[in-house]
Symmetry: C3
Subunit: 208 residues, 3 copies
C-alpha cells in the first residue's frame, strides 16, 4: 500500500512538477491581494500578503510598495476591545520594501511605525500594548478583561534587521540600521547603528 502511494506521488511529480504548483501559489497570492487590498487604509503596489495570516482592523493599516507580510502570522489593529468596551485609534504604518517573516505578530492599539527596508525573521513580535498594567488592583480580574494599555508607540526606523523570534515591546524606538539579534526581547530604545541582543536586549556593539 505504502509503495503504491509513493508511486502515485512520484507520478504526480511528473504530471504537475513543483514549478507549476509554485506558479499556482503565486497566482493565488495575487488573487488574495486583490481580495484584501481594498480593506486597507492604503497598500502599495507589488505587495504580498501571507496566507493563513489573521488580519484585523485593515482600515487602520497602511503598507508601502513592495512589502511582504509572512504566512501564518497576525497583523492586527484594534479599534475596540469588547471586554472592556475601550475604543482606540490604532495606526500601523509599514514602509516600502519591508519583509516581515512568517508566523510574526504585529499588534497595535496605539501606533506602530515601521520604516523602509526593514527585514524581520520568522516569529517576530512587535506590540505597542499589554493586557493590563502591572499594578496590584487588577490582578484578580481575568487578564482578558483587564483594560488594554499602551505604554507608548513603537517606531522601527529604516534598514533595521530584526532576527528570528525577537520581540519588540511597547514604547520602543529602534534607530536606523540597527540589528536585533535572534530571540532578543527589546524593552528599551536602541539607538541607530547598533547590535542589540539578549532578554532584555542590551547593546552588544556600537557600529558607528
Amino acid at each position: 500500500m505504502k509503495h503504491v502511494l509513493l508511486t502515485i506521488g512520484k507520478l504526480f511529480s511528473y504530471i504537475c512538477p513543483p514549478i507549476i504548483l509554485e506558479k499556482w501559489q503565486r497566482m493565488k497570492s495575487y488573487i488574495f491581494m486583490g481580495y484584501k487590498s481594498r480593506y486597507f487604509q492604503a497598500i502599495g503596489s507589488h505587495c504580498t500578503l501571507g496566507a493563513h495570516t489573521t488580519y484585523i482592523g485593515e482600515q487602520y493599516i497602511t503598507i508601502g510598495n513592495n512589502t511582504h507580510m509572512g504566512d501564518f502570522g497576525r497583523l492586527t489593529a484594534y479599534s475596540y476591545y469588547p471586554y472592556t468596551k475601550q475604543i482606540f485609534s490604532p495606526e500601523i504604518i509599514i514602509g516600502d520594501n519591508c519583509s516581515i517573516g512568517s508566523q510574526s505578530h504585529i499588534t497595535a492599539i496605539n501606533k506602530i511605525v515601521i520604516g523602509n527596508n526593514v527585514l524581520t525573521g520568522p516569529r517576530v513580535l512587535i506590540t505597542d500594548n499589554s493586557h493590563g498594567a502591572s499594578i496590584d488592583t487588577i490582578l484578580d480580574t481575568p487578564p482578558s478583561k483587564r483594560e488594554l494599555v499602551s505604554n507608548g508607540p513603537v517606531t522601527i526606523e529604516d534598514n533595521v534587521w530584526i532576527g528570528e523570534g525577537a520581540m519588540i515591546m511597547p514604547n520602543v524606538t529602534i534607530g536606523k540600521g540597527s540589528i536585533i539579534a535572534a530571540n532578543s526581547v527589546v524593552t528599551k530604545d536602541i539607538p541607530a547603528y547598533c547590535v542589540a541582543a539578549g532578554s532584555p536586549a542590551k547593546i552588544i556593539k556600537t557600529l558607528r
Copy 2:
C-alpha cells in the same frame, strides 16, 4: 496576467466579502467542536478548539466552559510512549474562560492544571516532561528512545497571564494573578501576584 488576477480577487471581495468568510469560519469551528467534543474526558459549553492543532489523548483532557484553544498548536496527553513502552496516566485540566494562544504547545505525561481565566499569548509551551533525565548513562541513547521523565506536575492558578513565547517547564507552580513576561523560561515556582521575566525567569516585581 497579474492585473487580471488582482481584479478577480477584487471582484471576489464584492461577491463574498470577509464578513461571509468569517461566518463560514465560525460555522466550521462549531462543526469541528461537535466532531471533537465526545473524545475529551469533558469539555464545557461555548469552547472553541483551534484548527490545525494536533490533539492527542483527548480522553485525558478536561476543558471548562468558554475556553479557547488556539490554532496550529499541540495539546497532547500521552498515555503510552511506544519507543520505551512506558505507560502513563496523564491529566490535563483547563478551567473556565481560558484562552490559549495560537501555535502553543501543552504536553503532559503527568499532570497539568490550568485554573480559570488564564490567558496566554501565542507560541507558549507548557510541559510536565522531558525526553530523558540529564544523567550520564543515557547520553548515548537516541533522545527519542530515552525514557520520558516528569520532574513534577505543572499548576497555573487563576488569572495568570502568560506572555507570548513564554515556556513553563516541569514541576512549576505559578500563583494566582501573576504575570509571566514574553519569552520567559519558567523553571521554578512563581508566587502569586508577581511579575517574572527572563531565561530562567526571575521575579522582577512583587505586586502585592
Copy 3:
C-alpha cells in the same frame, strides 16, 4: 443554528471517526514523500516530510533513513541570492532517525551537518548564515540587499537533543549527546555530553 452545527459535527464523528482521518493523513504524507523525494540529493527510506513546510534547494539536501521533518517549517539551501547575485554551494546533511519539530527552520548557504538520532522540539532555528556582516559600511543598505555571510558551518553530532524554540547560530558545533535547553541561543561550540542553556547559551552541567 449553533446547535445544528455541533450536531452535524458530532454525526460526522460517527461517520468518519478520527482514526480514518489519521489514516488519510498518513496516506497523504506518503503521496507527498513520493512527490518530493526525487528532488532531494538523496533521501532515505521511511522518512516523512512535513506538510506546509517550505523546501528550497532540495538538490543540496541529503536526508538519511527514518527521519522526520516537521510541519509548517522551512528547510532551505540557497545556491543563489538574487538581490546580491551571490552564488553558493550549500549543503544540508541530516542523518538517520532524526526528528525535527514542527515550525522549525533550517537554512544554509554553507554547510549544516546533523548527525544520527538528533531530536529537536518545535520552533527550532538552525542557521549557518546572516543577512550581512555586523560592520558599519553596510548599515545604510537594506538588510535584504546586504551580502549573505556565513561565519562557518554548523555541526550537530549524534544523539543531541535540542529543546523547543532553541536557536543554533552559524559556526557552532554541538558535541555528541549534549542537551540544549528550550529557548537557548547557541552562539559558541558546546562540547559533548553537556547541558547548555540561556541566551547566549552557557554550559550549565557537564555530564561526563
